[in-house]
């Protein structure tokens, strides 16, 4: 019986080393804590020199940790906003959203960069976008706890804008040609800022607004209730609804 165990163990370890060779990823995790901290802070500082290709560290530890942190923050946001997700789980949705954004948008941008002849590799793109999520993490961490819309918009513009500017500047420094630069940077900026907007509004605290009483029995079948009325237009909606109700 011990011989069978030995043979089985040898076969299993051979299969394991063949299919699960994580040593391929090992060089991308070769970082020091000071480096990670420096890169986190750098991701918020746009570079000035765009005529010289900027160096991007091809490292995956920081981006991976940032994606997981974003998942944790999203979970917190979903719980505090009492989001009810029927066809799935909270954790599944959070992980799917964050990883889907990181991997999907990176692949898409890498494809666009290939079309626009930009000098960037896939790992560098993953790293760049991953570190750009640092701004998202900060913004969402603050605004999921302090629910002021004007605060969110300020954070969205300032923090989101800074990290977008940094990514855009790095990309611009690695691309030639005005049209190509415009395409690449426009797409990246739009996707990055829109993702932050989506994360905030999709999981925001449900405001018991006038829309609920208006719709009443005609509740739409989708289950994730996430509606939000900006403070400014709340008063307008209130008066309008009162006027309509009076005339009915």
């Amino acid at each position: 019986s011990s011989q069978m165990w030995q043979v089985g163990k040898r076969q299993a370890s051979r299969a394991f080393s063949l299919y699960a060779n994580i040593d391929i990823l090992r060089p991308y995790f070769d970082v020091e804590p000071v480096q990670v901290r420096a890169r986190l802070l750098e991701s918020m500082i746009p570079v000035k020199m765009i005529n010289f290709p900027q160096k991007i560290a091809g490292e995956l530890y920081g981006p991976l940790m940032l994606v997981f942190t974003l998942v944790a923050i999203l979970l917190h946001g979903m719980k505090t906003s009492d989001t009810i997700i029927r066809e799935g789980t909270l954790m599944g949705t959070a992980i799917g959203t964050c990883f889907g954004y990181w991997l999907g948008v990176s692949s898409f941008m890498y494809f666009l960069a290939y079309l626009c002849n930009a000098q960037i590799t896939m790992v560098q793109m993953l790293s760049l976008l991953g570190y750009g999520l640092f701004g998202h993490c900060i913004t969402l961490f603050v605004t999921y706890n302090i629910h002021f819309h004007s605060l969110f918009y300020i954070f969205w513009l300032v923090v989101g804008g800074l990290s977008t500017l940094r990514m855009v500047a790095v990309l611009v420094s690695r691309t030639v040609g005005h049209t190509q630069r415009l395409i690449l940077c426009g797409t990246l900026a739009a996707l990055h800022m829109l993702f932050l907007l989506y994360l905030h509004f999709a999981y925001h605290k449900v405001v018991e607004g006038i829309l609920d009483t208006l719709e009443g029995p005609n509740m739409p079948p989708f289950q994730r209730v996430a509606r939000d009325i900006p403070v400014v237009s709340n008063a307008v909606l209130n008066t309008t609804a009162k006027a309509i109700a009076l005339t009915l």
Binding site: S1, S2, I22, L25, R26, Y28, F29, D30, V31, E32, P33, V36, Y61, L64, M65, F68, T69, A72, L75, H76, K79, D82, I84, R86, G88, T89, L90, M91, G92
Partner: protein, 217 residues
């Protein structure tokens, strides 16, 4: 060989002794003997090993018992009990009974696998299952916290109960993180400990968050 010319064996010394080496009562006999022993003995031996590891987690010292004889019974028991206790705590219990158990299960095992891979990629010297074993056993303080939270919630769900629950979960979260760091951080190069500790912190933070936001229906 000139030096050996004058050595000569006396012809009349008898060669005597036993030519067979007595086979000790170990190896083949012992393998069979653990199969023949009563089931109670096997179970008690495994239970004692699991219990010893629980004690090691509750009083984390620099011992290698958790690492040397790793086993996954303890983590499985803890995971299942935590998932059972966390079940049925959503707004719509008729829909979410199933996925919540699976959710907790998957989070714990997936999280443990990710942390293990991360520590291996950062150059850790610990093996895959040893790390899984340590992370699973260090969920014990959080399971205790869940038990305490459920008992406190039986008494009521006001502000005082929330404060008690928050303090208990916070203490147990710190204990879990410290316990697992004590075991896992030694296997890393000294200047990279922070890189390994952060995912562990995040992992236990997510579990603590699930425990704290649990409201029974």
């Amino acid at each position: 060989f000139p030096g050996l010319a004058d050595v000569s064996l006396p012809q009349d010394i008898p060669v005597e002794g036993e030519i067979t080496v007595p086979v000790g009562s170990h190896s083949p006999d012992e393998d069979y003997s653990t199969l023949d022993e009563p089931v109670k003995d096997t179970i008690m031996r495994d239970l004692k090993a699991v219990g010893k590891k629980f004690v090691h987690v509750m009083y984390p010292r620099k011992s290698s018992a958790l690492l040397r004889d790793w086993d996954l019974w303890g983590p499985l028991v803890l995971c299942v009990s935590l998932a059972l206790m966390l079940q049925g705590g959503s707004a719509d219990s008729k829909d979410d009974g199933g996925p919540q158990f699976a959710e907790v299960f998957v989070i714990i095992w997936f999280g443990a696998v990710v942390i293990t891979l991360n520590s291996k990629l950062l150059g850790g010297t610990i093996s895959f299952f040893q790390s899984l074993c340590v992370l699973g056993y260090c969920v014990l303080p959080l399971t205790v916290a869940m038990l305490v939270c459920r008992l406190v919630l039986l008494a009521g769900a006001g502000t005082i109960s929330f404060i008690i629950r928050f303090l208990v979960v916070l203490a147990m979260f710190g204990w879990s993180t410290l316990a697992s760091t004590a075991f896992l951080a030694d296997s890393q190069p000294p200047n990279r400990k922070a890189l390994v500790v952060y995912p562990i912190f995040l992992f236990y933070f997510v579990i603590s968050w699930m425990i704290l936001t649990f409201t029974p229906q």
